[in-house]
Amino acid sequence: MTTRITVDPITRIEGHLRIDVEVDDGKVTKAWSSGQMWRGIEKILVGRDPREAWTYTQRFCGVCTTVHAIASVRAVENALQLEIPVNAQLIRNIIQTAHAIQDHIVHFYHLSAVDWVDVVSALDADPVATSKLAESLSDWPLNGPHEMKAVQQRLKTFVGSGQLGPFASGFWGHPAMKLSPEVNLLGVAHYMNALDVQNYANKIVAILGGKSPHIQNVAVGGVSNSIGHDAPSVLNIERLMLIKNFIDKLEHFIKSTYLVDVPAIGAFYLDWTTIGGGVNNYLTVPDCPQDSKGTVFDLPGGYIANGDLKSLKPITTFNDAYFRDGVAESSKHAWYTGGDALHPWEGETEPEYTDFQDEGKYSWVKAPTFYGQRAEVGPLADVLVGVAVGNERYTRYLNEAIGTIKAVSGLSEVPLSALESTIGRHAARAVRCAVMIDTLKDQWQKLVDNIGTGDLDTFNAPVFPKGEIKGVGFHAAPRGTLSHWVVIEDAKIKNYQAVVPSTWNAGPRDADGQPGPYESSLLDNPVADPEQPLEVLRTVHSFDPCIACAIHMFDNEQTEIVKVKAL
């Protein structure tokens, strides 16, 4: 019997991600990913001053505010071929890296862990045994028996309070939940710790960005921070030391907890290393520029085809033609006019709504391709490209994670292909987070050293020519490759297109009918109980989806989200 499952978070509001799957004999045979995010939102920018575009683009999305600000100023600077001071690069790098770290921690502990950790089962755990297990894996100071007991007590109170429907979304007791009560309690304990820790990263962003949640210090041409020794509003040594203090705290948590928990939990879910693979082509852009021109980067970029690391083609500068010329978007299966894949500078955003048509148009998201192929973006792509170019940090932290999987599972070998899976994406994100904290430390040190040489520059004023210029600004954002494409005429924006990470991953079938990464990754997923499609959520969540970005309406009703229909 074939069953169709529709998961649609808030059906009242168009704009959220909707996933449809057909399940036959307990496995997914067909999948559709549908969403709306950018319908015409870029049109607000047409006719505006390019220097102000970033203040709007950072409102595109709730959690990705910073990344859209960065990509926007880079796009305009690229159009002008404007160099920016090294201090400005480093300050932006610190902000974006701290933001990425916060994002990765929250994604795992607060948004995804409940897919794997059975919170209610943690009530049955022996806190002393939990503590012993935790202390055998790491030196995190909050793993003691008293802490575990306190967490369990707090959880008991919370669950007992009834009216709250605690963690109502969780699929407690689902047959796909495999952890022992002790491991579940450990997960809950670190969930609580992570709530405190993620804020350290926010504070770094707020100190440099001037305001939280929306940063104010970015400018086309650099940053508006002034560097000095006295006035409290400027970036002085006291503020830099405060940032360093937060970096140290983050490092301890990431290396003693996040980088340990994910592979340890993964070791109990080894079957999920062969589920959820996706399109197996990977794209990432270089980031953390070290020079004023954007030709030397701390984080590598490139494209890998068919999961073959040897196929790597590197992307190396802000002017990289291989990246610039390879991106196109098709609307054949999206609710816009046209169908052929268009380059973003020629991109069109004219709506043409039909109903949800399985074989026709069914999404507000376009389908991006790279030289005609679908590509996955995000931490998995970052790690594979990092390993392919021989980056020391990516290789070291990946080996560390694999070591933990081996130690917990008793396996003697874990192939690299295990990463190309649902649970593998979480492992890749943890590895990337460890790389990012080292990068953050480096960028901080370089900023301190550069200021020490007497260089206090943070801004080069842009000058706009008459006539038309074009630019692309890219950023290796927490969810993956983000690019903003701008056409400027006589100092006004003429066209603006944002090709965002979740467009790459969540896009519908393309002009050639090729399914996107979400759609491919869902094929052959097991579904034990169609009424509780936990497995579908696991795979989609592993990408860190970003589709609900634009909307944040308060909803006091708990809307039914899963619909099941026998076909």
């Binding site: 998961v7 649609d8 978070p9 808030i10 509001i13 704009g15 959220h16 909707r18 996933i19 319908r39 939102i41 049109k43 607000i44 709007y56 409102r59 595109f60 999305c61 709730g62 959690v63 916060q102 994604h107 607060h110 948004l111 995804s112 707090r154 959880l155 109170t157 919370f158 009216q163 709250l164 429907g165 605690p166 963690f167 109502a168 979304s169 969780g170 609580m192 709530l195 993620q198 939280s212 949640p213 929306h214 959520l537 989609v540 969540h541 989806p545 970003c546 589709i547 609900a548 970005c549 634009a550 909307i551 944040h552 309406m553 308060f554 909803d555 006091n556 009703e557 708990q558 989200i561």
Partner: protein, 184 residues
């Protein structure tokens, strides 16, 4: 008892200003600041559509007032107040778990034992959520009532707001006005 900080009362405006009435909450708190002097002990914040970034400010306040667009079973344009026990703190299932909504944040605060002692949501049911800067005319007309409800909520907490002699003009108000001029 939870520790209180400089912002004993936190007023957060939430929403997306690029989607018409979705941004009503941000516009309402902006308007509140334009019309009244905000005294010490009250902190007004533009939360946009962010989530986790608001957790720390929320856990440090004693009373929380949120202005937002609200999905309620009443006619568009209706102003609603949902407070304390009426607010359900729950973790919403969502495919895009990218973002924590207000319900999730309140659930986290409860789990941590750090829920503010008073929480009120002052909301408007939106008329339209198109990708446009600026409120619909109908929502614009209702903004006045929403600001009044925010003022009354603060008064109920013992804070009397003193009107500014001259109203200031907020950033998003100005941008929306420019947008209208451009379209005309």
């Amino acid at each position: 008892m939870k520790q209180t900080n400089r912002g004993d009362i936190l007023v957060i405006g939430m929403g997306n200003v690029l989607m018409q009435d979705e941004g009503i909450g941000v516009r309402a708190v902006e308007e509140l600041e334009n019309r009244f002097h905000i005294p010490d002990g009250v902190r007004v914040m533009d939360g946009g559509t962010t989530g986790m970034e608001l957790f720390e400010p929320m856990r440090q306040c004693d009373c929380l007032i949120v202005a937002d667009a609200v999905n309620a079973k009443v006619a568009p344009g209706s102003l609603v107040r949902i407070a304390n026990d009426e607010i359900r703190a729950f973790f919403q299932t969502k495919l895009s778990n990218h973002q924590l909504g207000l319900s999730d944040l309140l659930a986290l605060l409860t789990l941590k034992g750090e829920r503010p002692r008073h929480i009120a949501i002052i909301g408007m049911v939106p008329h339209s959520l198109e990708n446009k800067l600026g409120l619909t005319d109908k929502a614009q007309a209702g903004l006045e009532g929403m600001v009044e409800m925010l003022r009354a909520e603060l008064a109920g907490l013992g804070v009397t707001l003193e009107p500014r002699r001259e109203r200031t003009i907020g950033h998003w108000h100005r941008e929306a006005a420019l947008e209208q001029a451009a379209c005309a």
